[in-house]
Structure formats: C-alpha cells, structure tokens
Amino acid sequence: MENINNDSTQAPPSGAGGLSRRSFLKSSALTGGGLMLSFSWFSEAKAAEKLSELNLAETWSELTGYIKITPENVIKIFCPNPEFGQNVMTSLPMMVAEELDCDWKNVVVEMGTHDNVKFGAQFTGGSNSVRMYWKPLRAAGASARQMLIEAAAQTWAVPASEISTKAGVLSHKSGKSAKYGQMASKAATIAVPKDAKTKAVKDFTIISKSKKNAEGTKIVTGKPLFGLDYRVDGMLIAMIQHPPAFGMKLKSFNAAQALKMPGIKDVYSFKLYDEGFEQGGFDTRTFNELLVVVGNSTWEVMNARKKLSVQWEPAGDVKETMMGRGGKREVTIPGRLETTSKQFEMMAEFAKKPATQLRKDGDPEAAFKNAAQVIERTYNAPFLAHNTMEPMNFFAHVQADKALVAGPIQAPGWMEPTLSKILNLPADKIEIQMTRMGGGFGRRAYAQYVYEAARISQKVKAPVKLVYTREDDMTYGIYRPMYTATYRAALDANKNLIGFHVTGGGIPESPIHANRFPAGALDNYLADSWEIPSNITIGAFRAPRSNFNAAAEQSFLDEVAEAMGKDPIQLRLDLLKRAKANPVGKNNDYDADRYIGVLELLKEKSGWGKPENAGKKRGVAAYFCHASYAGHVVDMVIKNGEPYVEHVTSAVDCGVVINPDAARNMVEGAVVDGIGQSFYGALTHKDGAAEQNNFHNYRMIRHNEAPQKIDVHFVENEIDPTGLGEPPFPPVFGAVANALFKTTGKRYYNQPFSVEQPQS
C-alpha cells in the first residue's frame, strides 16, 4: 500500500476504464491508486494508518448493499446519491450509521456507483436526497445491526433479544462483548431481516449531531474528486464548437487549419440524436448538430478550436418528438433569433391575452369589481445561467460491447436509457460512475454533455474527456427561464383583502404554482398562466419557479400589507390562521401550521418589531417549497453608495435536521446565492446569442458583497425530514426586494435589482 498522504502526483481514483464493479474494489486496492484516497479524510490518524495496512479487498464483509465491515471494525458506508455540495456524502451515511449503532469515528464513506437495483433512485435534485432515503437508509442500518446481533447470538448461544449494541459494540449481560468487526463475516451470511426496528428521534446519537464533511480533508488538500480531475492513460480531450446563437445551425466548416495544429487527432461534425429520436423529459438538447475537436491536451484543443472556419445559418422552425409526461408528441421549436428587449415586449403582449385558468375560488371578478382599491404590480426576471464552478464535462470510454462513463451528474438513472439508445448498447453494459460535482444547482440533471462525450468516444474509439470552457458552459446553457407575473389585490373600504389574482407566464414555461399560499387563505382567488415557446433551452435551477414566485409574490404581499396598514409578518400570519381554521378549497399544497411556525420563529429571532430594531432597514419574506418552510429577515444598509445586505436572520422548518452545522452552511449559502442572483443575475440575448460568456460580464456575488452575519434557526420537531437545499433560496429574493424598499424608498419589480430602473 502506498502512503495515503503522499499522493499529490498519483493517478486520480477509479480511472481504470472497463473494470467491472466486482473487480473494481480489488483492483483499486491492489494498485493503491483509488480506494485509499477514499480514506484520507479520516481525522483519526491512527485509524487511517491502520486502514492502510489492511488487505481491504479480502476482508470486507457486506451487510446490506450499503455497509461493509472489516474484522478490524472499520465500517464503510456507501452513499447512494451524487454529491454536489449538499453534503449527502456525510448526511446519508449518518442515517445508516445511526441505526447501525456504530461509532462515527470508525466510518469511512464511499460514493456508490450507479446501480438502481442496489441503491434506489440515486437522484440528486428537488431537495429529495434526505427525504427519499430517510426510511431506506435507516432500515439498511437497522437491518445490519440486527444481523450482527443474530451473529453474536449464534456465536454465544444466547437469545438475540438479550444482546444490546452501543457505538459498534455488541454486549450480553453475561459479560460477553464483541466489536462489530468480530461478528461481521458471520453476520454477512445471515438473511437480511425484513422488519428491523428503527430508533425513536429522541434516541438518536449521530443524527442531529453535527459531523464534519466526509470529504473535507480531500477537498482542502486538492485531491482529485471532480469530473474534470478524472483521467485514464491514453485519454483524449474533446471540445465542442456549438452554434453562436440559439436558432442557428451548422452550414459548413473547414478544419484544415485546426487539423494542422499540434496534438490534434480529429475534427468532425456529429448529431447528438439521430433523426426521429424520441426525447425524454431530461434529454434536453441545445443544438443537435455540433462540431468537435479532439486532441491530446486541453490547451492544444482550445487553440485548435480557434482555427476552425465555420459557417452557420438560421435553423428555422425545428420539429422534435417528445416522450415523457403527456405521452409521445411532436413539438415545434420556433426558429426566431431572440433578443431580450423583444422577449420582454412579447411577454407583456402575452400577459394581455386570455390565459389558462389554473384555479378559481369564490367570485374574484366580483371582488375586483366591488373593490374600493385595487393594487396591481408586474414583476419580471431574466434567464439565469447556473454557472457551476466546475464547467460541464464528462469522461466516456465506449467500446464495441460496453461503455464506461464517469463524471459530474445529478441523475445517472435518467441517463442510462438514453445512453443505451444512442450507443445501441444494452443498459447492463453501461457503467456510470458519479464523481463529486463542482456545483449543480439543477444544471447537471440535463445530461446532453454525457451523451456528447459518449458519442465522441464511440466515434474516435478511445477514452475521451469532453470539456466545456466557461464560455461554452455559459452560452450553451440550460437556463432558468424568463418569467413575468402580474399580481392584483382587491381591498374593500375598510382595507380588508377581499380578492387576489395572479397571472403569470414565461419563456418557455410559466412559474405559477396555483395551489400555494395565499391560495386557501382567500375567499376570492384566481390564478392563471401562459407560456411562450422558444428555442432557448431551459431547465431546473435551484428551486425552479419558486425562485421567481417568492420574489414576486412576497414583494407584492409586502406592498399589500403597506396598503392595508398592517405589519407584513402579521398579514401573513392572519392569512395563514384563516387557511388553518377554515381553508378555502381542498387542494392547498402547504401546511399552514408549519408556515406559521417558521414566521413565529423568524419574528422572535430577528426581534421583529422590537424598539431596538426600529432604525433598521428590514425586509421580510417566507416561502414554502420542496415540502419545507423558510423565511428571512434582511437588514440592509448603504455601503459605498450601494445597497448592501449586512445581516440576515433565517428560520427554516425542514423537519428533523440530520447534520445541523452542515445544514446551517447550506442555508447560509442559499442566502448568499439569493442575494447574488437577485442583485446581479442575468443572462440576456441579442439575435439569439448569449450576451454574457464569462465572469467579466456575468456578475457573481463576491466576498465583499456577502453579508457580515447570517443567523440560521431551525424549527425543532420530529417530522420526517423535508427539503433543505432549495427551500431557503427563494424567499431571499423577496426579503431583499422588501429591504430595498425600506432602504431606498423605491419598490423593485425587475431583476436583477442592481441594474433595473426602479419604477416610481
């Protein structure tokens, strides 16, 4: 075994293309290149040293698909879900370890490979990871514990019911005791029990106790963890030249100059999907025909790409065959070359046309007709680029009878059927490995870069890593859609809210969630929606749709509260109490009690309305999405002549919090992200071309713009965990907008706030 700490120049992990899953463990342990890296995070030096002496491949006993134990009591727990910074490589194994009842110090964590039979859905997105694995992972841990107890019972010839466990030790009243490792090989032969009991929340010793990031040491020492770090011997680098604008396509190209450049192997055009390919919901393609340059190294390929001579032409309307929800259907993607100012004009026109009614309660038309005052406001937001720090990339090695793909991906299970179709290989001959992702935010749920890499490897018959530059990544995106919404409130002569109407739409999807608050709290309510088809590709972006709604709706409620002469938190509480006591309609998505709980906690922790905070310029907002509730109070000041968020108080109800300090980190990050996106985020187009292509013209929030302090508070309860990665993000937008009003005296309706011309 190599010294695990002396690896600054050794090969990255899991680089052996074509190895089967079974042989992987053994091979990597033998070469010392892969598996050992998984352990270098180990904070206990002794344990790590001990590990390095083990012949791991020979001694692991597997107890359920998630757990392996050595005789020396080292416990390996597999993380089923891809990691993109939400810290599932720590929180999911914590759930297993809790029910296994082991000592967290003895746990090493390893990312599982893609295996939906063994590991379930393996989908990172929708703030789902902890939610969907809450029961199965605890059941796996509890089952393994039961198997260890049974093994001890057989060994000691005592009833299993008399054996207890604590921190990885089995004990019997006779005084007999054994570490899990001593019973592991026997336990591995026992059938997995079906009904192992899990602990009560009050008995948790690992869950709800903060644990450090399982890959923390690897991260701070620069270990090869990410897709871009993946390499194998003989691997080529590929870069794609895509059309310069949405609505354009390849006409012709001359590669003579590029091919003469050093290190270049091939330049050619290819189609991502063949004619008539039936696209699933996540088979988004930005452009179907692409040019690719393949060569030995990144810099050589970058330089050769600049020597391409390419003619592009308008693509015109394009017909595509879509599958997935709604069944098989033909859709026409319009060919127009879009420009941002015209997109806004188009949205304003569409907003005037009759829309699709999503929900109607009572008689909203009458309420507005009889109103003493009607407040109407329109909110707009641009496309956003995800801008993950690690640009899109993927490794592929496609051979005649099998394929290995590896890299950063949120939803490997959705990629497999498509890979099988486009490569014409059976799904069981395709191995997908998930590397750590340098951010995701929804972008890596759309895998055209995986398919591109696979197509290229198949053509050039070599292992290939496809690399997007930042410019590729930003101009060839799957963006957050453009949205608009108009809200109307009807007040009677006594300033009671008697009617509420929202109509919203976007390019190319509508943001409206008709059954969310304040639906259910109002007798007369109307929500409708429209959409404008576009050739600009869009997809999920941290809290899809909610990230716009919480800006618009929560700003609007602030203005309504002002018109009613009510405190903005009190208005929300009054509405929620109504929704709780006597809800309107049956189909209301949210739990009014949990919503109230978050607002009450926020009020308390921020000292809302207290005399000592009277001088502060504060904005508040709260929102429900991904089954959780989050709210923020934003304190704003003017710094260097610009509005600056100095302090944020956050309250979140996401049920049981698995890893409190990491959860706080997630909320802090969502707050910073929300401030950054609301102030600066925008991807605009001119004649179909993205006008921003790197961080010099796409402004990202930086150190000096982050708040000085973010206080995060969680509602304490025993509710099964609900989402966390997304829910705290949307309400930041509304709280910032409302604080801007207090700070500048103007309402902000159009994002990004730093460049909009405030309406008077």
């Binding site: 120049t9 990031n213 040491t217 020492t221 390499r231 951010g439 997630m666 150190h703």
Partner: protein, 151 residues
Amino acid sequence: MAKYNLKINGKTRAVDVDPSTPILWVLRDHLNMPGTKFGCGMAMCGACTVHLDGNAVRSCSMPVSAVGKMAITTIEGLSENAAHPVQKAWLEHDVAQCGYCQGGQIMSAAALLKSNPNPTDEDIDAAMSGNICRCGTYLRIKEAIKTAAKN
C-alpha cells in the same frame, strides 16, 4: 514545444510543452496535478490560484514561459497532511460545500496571511474578492481566515 524545469512543491519537474501553455494546464494535463482547478480561463474566478514565490497568481492566465526560476506551490504542496493553519481552519469551520473553488480560496488566503498575518475584514475582502464561491461559503471562509490568523 519547449523544455522547462519547473520547481513545483519543492521538486523539479521537467515538461516539454508549448511556451504559451498556462501553468494551470501544465499542472493538470502534463503533470497530473489536478488540485488546481479550471473555472474561467481568464483570471476572473480564482479557482486556479497557485503561489509563485509565495504570491497568489491565477495559473490559468500565466504562461509556463513566464515562470522562470520562480517556485510554484499548489494546493497539493501547501502542507503535508492538511497541516497548514489555513487548511486546519477550513476543516474546523467545515467551510466547503461543493468544494471546487476551495483549493483556490485556500491558496489566496494562505498568501494573504503570509503578507498580512492579522488582516481586517476589509483586508480579507480585498484579497479574497477575486475568488468566487458559487455555493456562497464566503462567511465561513472569512471566519476560517480569522481562525488561521490566530494560529
């Protein structure tokens, strides 16, 4: 192509590359040292930060031909066993989310503390604002720098 003997993390490494090749790609592609990250390619994000004779530089925008005899330190060579005070502080504050930018953040922070052992908040902002963290861990980074400064 041209031959260079580069001093990297205390060792001499020979490479034969085009003189225009940025240090970033020499490290990543030719020397198999991927701790230094590619983020933007134009010195706007700081993910590629390394030290040249102790100063933080963006390796994506500096050609290998400009290195000369200067010593390069990368995140892999900052310490043995994550022992550098900045790395220890990063672990203590559990800074990372996705982790992709953190190597560059740590290199910028280590260079800052070397030249300014007790930075103010403004000093930290000035030195660190070239490093983007898309996950938004800026507050923890600041706290970690202050902890490292104490040690």
